[in-house]
Amino acid sequence: MTGAVASPERDLDITPELVHEHGLSPAEYERILAILGRAPTLAELGVFSAMWSEHCGYKNSRPLLRTLPTHGDAVVQGPGENAGVIDVGEGWGVAFKIESHNHPSAVEPYQGAATGSGGILRDVFTMGARPIALFDSLRFGTLDSPRARYLLDGVVRGVGDYGNCVGVPTVGGETVFDPAYEKNPLVNVMCVGVVPLERLIRGEARGVGNPVMAVGARTGRDGIHGATFASGELDEESADSRPQVQVGDPFTEKLLLEASLELIGRDLLVGIQDMGAAGLTSSATEMAARSGSGIDIDVALVPVREEGMTPYEILLSESQERMLLVARPECEEAVREVLERWDLQAATIGKVTDDGVFRVREDGRVVAEIPVDPLVNECPTYTREGVEDPEIGRLREMDLSAHRTFGCDADVDAALRTLLDAPTIASKRWIHEQYDTSVQTNTLAGPGADAAVLRLPAGKRALAATTDGNGRYTYLEPRTGGRIAVAEAARNVACAGARPLAITNCLNFGSPLRPAVYHQLAEAVAGMGEACRALGTPVTGGNVSLYNETGGQPVYPTPVVGMLGVLEDRDLRIGSSFREPGDVIVVLGATRDEIGGSEYLAAVGGLVAGPPPALDLDEARRLVELLVAVGEVGVARSAHDCADGGLAIALAECAIGAHGGPLGLEADLDHAPRVGEPAAAALWFGETQSRVVVSCAPGRVDQLMTLAGAHEVPAARIGRVAGPRGTYEVHGGGHRVRVDVEELGRIYESALPRRMREEAGLTA
């Protein structure tokens, strides 16, 4: 390579229109001029545009994200890396991260979801971790719309085909249906991987002269400016953005995964990073920024898929299944040998420098020369004024008294059936049977459980993990929604008997330029921070997806939390469903008079209104502590979080999904712990937080009650588990429902296949 050139030649005039098309404001452009001391080249403008997009630069969210707790005993790697890492003992770490692929999935659901899975897998294995599980957190419109069905079908196939082929099981997640997501679905995928801590590697570019290598698929014209695309709102023309949606190749991903782990295992690398959003640009500059170094590359050396690609295109392509490596000195040949063994392309495209500059050449001629630090770390950030939309205040205060009681028993029975048939609550078997859930033989509890439980490589410990988030709550009261996303995830992990340790988060919101949306974002992040602090579960990283709106209509503000916890003894894990006839059913946590924001109010009353259930952080913490203690002594035979649909649905789920086939139950909700006098609807279907349905052997009820008392968690026995193929017999609030559990099971299981036009029970 030739020596440094003073400054790249100007290739064309940078007009205000061009700046605007690149999503940069005039003030941001002024800043670029100041950083460079001259006008940028087109390639440089593209680089700034991508790095200063919301997706890469977090320009509207960074000041808010800074308020989140990121430190804790278990945290080995916090935000800012490819993925967060926690210490799970015995010398092992768990790397994990969640990411959104909402915009691509709205335009092309199959490839959008597939490449989302691919990206998050690479973020985890570039830490040196072997991915052991995927989780998908999905939001769609209601399934009576053909478009929502098309999106669900495509996304599920995309998530499935990718993970299935790479050989990483998809073991959990959530799928929520609401008209708010009709035009803008949310597709968030979390990946979890295990790494011996001494093998942990980061995305760094150290050591002057070390070779920088592009590995994997060739670079094509696909996905150019995907990061900028993902940072704008969807409109009628978004379908024309299909060329910005990349195409996934899970087979190449599998090769990259194995080759990367081999390279890292043999200590041949200084650093490695996925060429994800903003491709070569973000990987090269972020790696240099972390190490305070510079990178000098020549785009003519990058293997390309098409003739005549410009530096601009090569720098910004988001072609999938590509990685950037910095090899150790003298290791370049060994790296090549490994890659060749895996039939992967590798090209040395440049070297690490010490001048702190990202220098890009084309056949030696400099086409871009940008100081790394301001490019990566000085993305302009904005703290905006947030103002609540007054309409939401009115919704929250709406009089719900007409929905608080039932006319007769038949109304309760009908509501129970309606809720079990509501796709958000109903069985997701139709989805998760399309995912390989058992490959790698680590799955101790898979989809359908409150949290997935996975074997860890050494010792008796196991990992519990889940994703949670409630857009409706967050819409009605963002701070509470943020708190609940964290608290519910912690509760789910604790229901398996595991101690919650840390989270990754994905913030799916509308345009932050709207004061009403910015208010939601700021409040939800504040709520998450409060809950993370109260529960001792710091944030180790995540992703922000803004501009989720169409035609000026934002989606529900939807913070999604991915939570990890550790179980000391995998054999003491607690299942979600009833196990033994004759067991006693105990409710932990008190029911309040709350129906606002509930699935009941939405599905039966057709209303999204009222305040969402309150979340007392201290109560949430005590319940989690209690569940961990319950797990340690093995006193519970099942524990199931009481969430969407309230106690009545939680009980039905425990009975329908019972170990070895449906079991009946008898319960009296009037015996459940309560605060004040909850109305009948609140007692049956209200979604008061921090409640769990537990079953335990009759001889151990006293022990359970004593533990609950010691943790200051209200607890009461409300009934017992009955025999196989029994009835669901529940009293409460002056009403009584008696129905065959198998009948409830049929409703619960057929809801999705029926809407997807496939018969339930059609097994082939």
Binding site: E433, V439, G761
Partner: protein, 246 residues
């Protein structure tokens, strides 16, 4: 004894088979790289599940042309015990070591679920650790697992007791509802004429370890170990056929 587990670039159940054999059974296992021309001293060859070469064309269609498959075919034709699981079954059919073919599931969807499997013939080197008629619970995980063959072939398979595993319901009956992929006659696994090559779609290696709470699949590997160790394995025409070739 030693199991050799073939590793195609897209194999993803290879490590699971190794774990089942070593941790579940306490036997030795070694990987056989797809570019290799040498099976070494293995007693049994396993073609594991996965997506051998991406399988974008047709499952197993490219794998049959890989270097290692020349050796596997020679090994199998010489009487060597060869087991194909899921993608491995597809490869064995493509390589014409087993009759019939595996096409897309009747539902046209990938499906992963634990299914009932009945042992139809416990007198093979792959099933001798089971009782005849025993019902096992083993997961499937495939998009192309519908076994098809012409009726003459199917009749012959049945007559020669070469259907070794069949999909059945909770009471052990091969009903249509218990058929997870539309396979002809609920066939889950078959053996070749010589009785030394078996392919099955369910994944026995995923239910071979105690901590998973189900070890129904371990019998497949235990059967093989007994067949090799017991000295009554089918005749194998000497090791000289192994490792010969380009």
């Amino acid at each position: 004894m030693k199991f050799g587990i073939v590793r195609f670039p897209g194999s993803n159940c290879d490590a699971d088979v190794v774990r089942a054999v070593t941790e579940g059974l306490g036997e030795e296992a070694t990987y056989l790289w797809h570019k290799s021309h040498d099976l070494g001293d293995v007693d049994v060859v396993v073609l594991p599940g996965g997506f051998s070469y991406g399988d974008y064309l047709r499952a197993g269609a490219i794998a049959r042309f890989s270097p290692i498959m020349r050796e596997v075919v020679a090994f199998a034709r010489a009487g060597g015990l060869t087991l194909g699981i899921c993608n491995g079954f597809q490869v064995l059919c493509e390589a014409r070591l087993l009759p019939g073919a595996l096409v897309r599931n009747r539902s046209l969807r990938f499906r992963c679920v634990e299914v009932g499997v009945r042992v139809e013939n416990a007198a093979t080197p792959f099933s001798r650790a089971y009782r005849e008629g025993e019902r096992l619970s083993i997961p499937i995980a495939h998009g192309e697992g519908q076994f098809v063959a012409d009726s003459g072939t199917l009749d012959r398979l049945e007559a020669e007791r070469r259907v070794v595993f069949r999909y059945v319901d909770g009471s052990g009956e091969p009903t249509d509802a218990a058929n997870p992929n539309g396979s002809a006659r609920n066939i889950a696994g078959i053996i070749n004429e010589a009785g030394n090559v078996l392919g099955l779609m369910p994944h026995p290696e995923r239910v071979s370890l105690g901590y998973l709470g189900n070890t129904d699949g371990l019998g497949v590997f235990a059967s093989l170990a007994r067949s090799v160790g017991g000295g009554d394995r089918p005749h194998r025409r000497g090791a000289e056929t192994v490792g010969v070739g380009s």
